[in-house]
Structures are given as structure tokens and as C-alpha cells.
């Protein structure tokens, strides 16, 4: 088994008891998926078309929490996808959307029980969702930068 399959069962969870609603997760997610990666200032100062945050922050004071794709074992979005763009990588277990094939029909939004797929109109018409920052091969930006450790990665069986 390689490292990737070790990642197969990873999920990001939130601890709502300590989520402080600062939304830094969104900020860092945006940057991490922009061309400037970790450079927040450039991401926000130079780009007019920025990626959407791939985390959903729900807030109703005093409760708040972040929520992102669960990369389900039985992904509803993948089963519902009409083009086959949404797929679960058999190696990594990560559910990703092939933006080359996504035509923005939003069936995945209809199907995702967590409500964590977004319509991205700015950058083509595609469904945007958490990819566990797999490209950076690092700890996901939201988890890494949560100042209160309200997000954590857990391997679930």
C-alpha cells in the first residue's frame, strides 16, 4: 500500500465547540486553490477571479463550524453525476470533479447530502468542492490554518 491509499479514508471534521467563526479556513482555502497558493496578499490583491472557498462555514451565533466534502465511501455525487466528471479515485479515495468534463448540471448539488458542492460561475460553470488539497500533498490548508484547531483530519474506518 502506498501513501495515497493511506489517505484513502481521511476526512476533515469540525469541532463546533471550538470553531470561532473567523472564516480563516475559507481565506486559506481560496489562496490554496489559486495560482498563488499560500500567498494570501497576492491571491486577494491580484486576482479578480478567485476560486470559491471549498469549505462551507455555517454560523448561527454562538454556534459555527466548517464543513467540507466527506469523500464518502458511497458518494452520492459520483453516482448522480450525469457526465462521469465527478469520480472517486480508487487509489486515494478522494472524490474530485474533472472540470474538463463537468458541464454544470448541478445534479451533484442535488445529491450531496452534506451540501458542500458549490456552483462556480466565475471560473467556467463547474461544480467546486474540497479536494483535500491533494495537489499540495500537504495538510489541507483549512486544517493547517485553523487558529483554534476546530478542524481536524481523521482517518475513519
Amino acid at each position: 500500500m502506498n501513501n495515497l491509499s493511506a489517505a484513502a479514508k481521511k476526512r476533515i471534521y469540525a469541532k463546533e465547540e471550538v470553531c470561532i467563526g473567523c472564516r480563516l479556513c475559507e481565506i486559506y482555502c481560496i489562496a490554496a486553490h489559486s495560482q498563488y497558493r499560500d500567498n494570501l496578499i497576492k491571491t486577494f490583491k491580484k486576482l479578480t477571479k478567485r476560486p470559491l472557498p471549498r469549505i462551507v462555514v455555517e454560523e448561527e451565533k454562538p454556534v459555527s463550524f466548517g464543513l467540507q466534502c466527506r469523500h464518502c465511501d458511497e458518494p452520492e455525487c459520483v453516482k448522480a453525476c450525469i457526465t462521469g466528471a465527478m469520480h472517486k479515485d480508487t487509489e486515494t479515495g478522494i472524490v474530485t470533479n474533472d472540470i474538463e468534463r463537468c458541464i454544470g448540471c448541478w445534479t451533484c448539488i442535488l445529491a450531496c447530502p452534506y451540501g458542500v458542492i458549490k456552483r462556480d460561475y466565475q471560473n467556467k460553470k463547474i461544480a467546486s468542492k474540497c479536494d483535500l488539497c491533494m495537489e499540495s500533498n500537504m495538510e489541507p490548508a483549512c486544517v493547517k490554518n485553523c487558529p483554534n484547531e476546530a478542524l481536524y483530519i481523521k482517518a475513519s474506518s
Partner: protein, 500 residues
Amino acid sequence: MSFSLLTPEFIVERNDERCIRCQVCVRQCANLVHMYDQEEDRIVADDSKCVNCHRCVALCPTRALTIRRNPLEFKENANWTTSAIREIYKQAETGGILLTGMGNDRPYPVYWDHMLLNASQVTNPSIDPLREPMELKTMLGRKPEVLNVEDGKVKEKLPPQLKLEIPVMFSAMSFGSISFNTCQALAMAASEAGVMYNTGEGGLHKDLRKYGKNTIVQVASGRFGVDVDYLQAGAAIEIKIGQGAKPGIGGHLPGEKVMAEISQTRMIPIGSDAISPAPHHDIYSIEDLRQLIYSLKEATDYQKPVSVKIAAVHNVAAICSGIARAGADIIAIDGFRGGTGAAPLRIRDNVGIPIEFALAAVDTRLREEGIRNQVSLVCAGGIRNSADIIKAIALGADAVYIGQAALIAIGCHMCQKCYTGKCNWGIATQDPNLVKRLNPEIAARRLINLLHAWTHEMKEMLGGMGINAIESLKGNRLMLRGIGLTSRELDILGIKAAGE
């Protein structure tokens, strides 16, 4: 009155080249300093509300923020300083006593910084704590003068003792003055580090009872949350007579902070003010204290050491002699730099004496009377680092309490606004939006780290002195030399001057 003579104390500086309008500052400031102006697409600040707690600065992801002291000055005046003038403005506007939080910040001498430690050179070896055992384990409680041993067995059991892995405990801080999460962090850290935390006078929340082995339950003049289960729940009981930040003054938790959990824990109705009287109304003299000490011992079947905490006041040595003779197992002395969640400014800044003198005087007095071993001495109030602890123990303390240092470890920035209940760091607040900012797990980890670091440092210092067990440092004043002290001060501290 809307017009105020008080100008902003601080200025919020925002580097617009770095500000990305993420509005974290807006969301994080409980004092509502920052606002997003949609029309201008920029974030603006109301400086007058800023307390310089650094919450926004710390969370700003692009480091766009700095807080500066407002450079605005009054005409130079050695007598009428800025604070002297501002305090008058404040009182003239409000008609109230000035409140403050945390410990005395006036420039009185810090005697810890006037004592230097010894180290071994040539004539005896220093000990390397990385290679040799180095013992910091400490037992607090009454010790008999003589141990009766018969046939290699102890004839009488020791009176109950608190066992500490290191001679450091977390000071009394009540649930109410600090948040539940803070209490939990202290409890978790104490538990993990093998030391004690202290409930303060706010009772013991049901969810924290599991940390009982590392809990000192406090009985103060308000008797909040005190019943026999509470007394049984901890490892020791502490009678709080006074507090270094406000000797002679009671406490007051305003009713708006008394929400469901606090109400339950303190056993008082929701929304009612929790008032701790200045004295215990059943203790008007030393013999009354003895009665309370023994009532508590009776209630707990003589299984728990009883501590008595007092503020360091002028006559502290004689008072402690009386407390020892009244049956206390531990005496905690809180110096005039001790912290608080709320105290009248004038009291905090002008009442009491330095813990260094109080400790030296008490230790000397108890030894003169031959009763030093009957009681353990814990000193509190402004302990800032491991060297302070080592010096305190060399002066004669068995252990120390840390309060402010512990809070700083978990994020306190010493803005001294605890009494407002708007602590942006989730420490001194009951606002659920703010409380959750203190993640107990992170805070506990930071506390454990701090204790860990201090443990290493203490071991290094001990090893340098050629000592490998903390008890050999206790009262070992030869390990201290004074610097920049008058001979009177040296006498009181019972130490020699550097070079002697």
C-alpha cells in the same frame, strides 16, 4: 454624557497594502473596534474601543495590523502623569471607583530580579539533569516533627499530603471569573502534569469532577458551590481568606454572568449577583479559623489537607504562625502582585506587600518558632518564570501558585480588562461566542508545555547548584545573593549580598 475627555489610549494601524478585507478582525473583536465599510471596500477602526488585547493582530492572516500606544501626550509632568490625569477624567465622568484586572502593574521593585542564584564550580560538581536523576517531586501537607518507625514500618501514617510532580500549582481562579473552557484546560493540564489546579471560589462544575485528584477546592467567604460532595471532590481544601490583588476586599460576580452553568455550579439562582463578603462572617479571629479548619477536616474525615490562603499584608509572619497553630496543613501567601478578575484599582495598586518579603518573613518566623515543618508554604502572586520559582523555594517556599503566568500561557495578553467580561481570548468571559475561542485542548497543551519547559529549567538550575532533589533547595538561602538591595532588605530576605 456622550462627550468624553478621554482620548483613545491606543491607535489601530492597518497596512492597506496587506489588508485583504477578509474581515477576520471584524469578526474577532468583541469590543467592536473594526468595521467593514462596504461602500469604500475597506476596514475601518474605532480606536477608542481598542483595549490592545492583540486578538485582531494575532489572527490577521496577512499581518496587516499593529496597535500602538496613542502618542498623544499631556504636557510633561512628573506628578500629574498621563494615567493620573486619565483616571481623574474617568472618575469625573462616571462617578465610580476604578476597576481593573490582573495584577499590580506599578513600578514597584521586583525583588525576584534582585536575587541571584548560585552554581557549583570546581569544589563540588554541578549535576547534569540530562544524565542524572533530578527530583522535583514535592509533598504538601503537615509533617510530624518526628517519624515513628518500628520494625522497619511506619508507626503512624502521615497526615494527608498533596503529591506534586513539580512544585507548581495553578492558582485559584473561579468558574465565573474565568470561562469553563479555561477551568477545563487548567484541570486537564494539572492532571496531565501531576500538579493541582484550584477551583477558586466558584464551585466545581460537574464535568470537571473527574479531575478531582488534581483539584484543590476552595471555600471562600461566599461559600459558593460548597457542600460535602464538593469538599470530597478535590484532593485538598483551601480556605480563602484573602487575595493579593485585593487584600481586605470581597468579590462580586455580576448577575448577568450568572448563567445556567454558573448558577448550577455556584448553587445560586440564575441572574443573581454572587457576592463574596470581605471577611468570612464566621471568622472574625484566629480561633474562628481553627473551627472552620477542623469543621472541614471533620467533613472530609481528615483525609484532605486543608490550606489557608491569605494576602501578604504587613503582619503576615505573625498571622501565618497563628494559621499554622490553628491547624492548617498548607498556608498559601498571595503577594501584592497577585492577579484578579476584577479589583478596585486603588486597592490593587496600594495594598499589601511583596511576596518575596512576605515569604522570607514567614519562613523565618515559622523556623524561629520551630513549627516550619508543621505546615507547607505556598507562595503566589507574580511568579513569572522558573527562576522565580527556584528563588521562592530557596527563600523557603514548598511550592508556588501560578495564575497570571498560566493565563498568559493560554493566550492572555494582559490588557487588564477581565472585569468587562469581553475577553477576546475566551479566558475571562462567559459569553459563549468568546468562550469557545479558548480550545481547552490547545490551552492544556500550552500549559503542559510551559510546565515542561519550566521543569527543564528548574532542573538545570538545581543541577548547576549541585542539588538533585528539590527539598535540598527549600529554605537554602545560601543559594541566593542579593543585588541592589539595602542591608535592611537583605536582612529581611535572610540572604547575603552578591560577592559576600
